[in-house]
Point group: C2
Chain length 165, copies 2
Amino acid sequence: MATEAERIAAANRSYAEGFTGAGAVRPARHLAVVACMDSRMDIFAMLGLEVGDAHVIRNAGGIVTDDVIRSLTLSQRALGTREIVLVHHTDCGLLGVSDDDFAAELEADTGAVPRWRAGGFEDAHADVAESIRRLGATPFLLHRDRVTGFVYDVDTGRLLPVDGD
Amino acid sequence: MATEAERIAAANRSYAEGFTGAGAVRPARHLAVVACMDSRMDIFAMLGLEVGDAHVIRNAGGIVTDDVIRSLTLSQRALGTREIVLVHHTDCGLLGVSDDDFAAELEADTGAVPRWRAGGFEDAHADVAESIRRLGATPFLLHRDRVTGFVYDVDTGRLLPVDGD
């Protein structure tokens, strides 16, 4: 077991000592959150979620990829969620990243060409709006009428609603 | 703004009042966690993470998809992480799901064929081992020597290490 994994295993032993059980597999608030992987977003704490409340889907950027569609489709069709909340944030590592440059660097370094694009963007609010559009364009979700987008400000801890939702 | 989003916005106002700042974009513990989206896993609390410590990537199953490879590649190459922790769990919604049946149901209901597979599996420990193998097979990561897999027991709150890491 690697170093940080050992720290995690030790911290988890304390967590489990105070654990009182977690309930059912279906999210109690019928909610799925799609957020960036950024280390500064403790999603449960900053959104006021309790254990068992909501699915949490996270990737680089919090952008709506095929894998997010897969997860949301399972969330809604197999596990009963009906509402989606998107959370992007300020100071994102993908701000200003050029997908072409990133792909060229990867190919130069590894000799392989990725099947995916990095997902860089120029404006967090516009990128949330783009993600909302992608959700609207997929045929697989059962519920697309309750989708809300936010940008999280990593300096203040505040969620800012995105216009157009 | 939809109902649960309003609750989230209200809860976030309380969170922001006690917020003391979050630090830099690069994760302090040089760690990325890949976990299932399950609502019963409050990742920061159950792994003992602080704000700013680690990237958190989550999808249905916590399985290693192309989008997870994209996120981990950015995490390591753009943001300096070096270690990966995988967390699947007991009582997962994907346990026993047939990818073929799920795809057939989607096509029957929507007329469209998804580009992705559901990602069903039969055994959480074996699925973690499969995810570790997939990480080993991608050329894009800089660091693949510190990968640790766990299965989280949703009834006890405990992490169980997966053999073979």
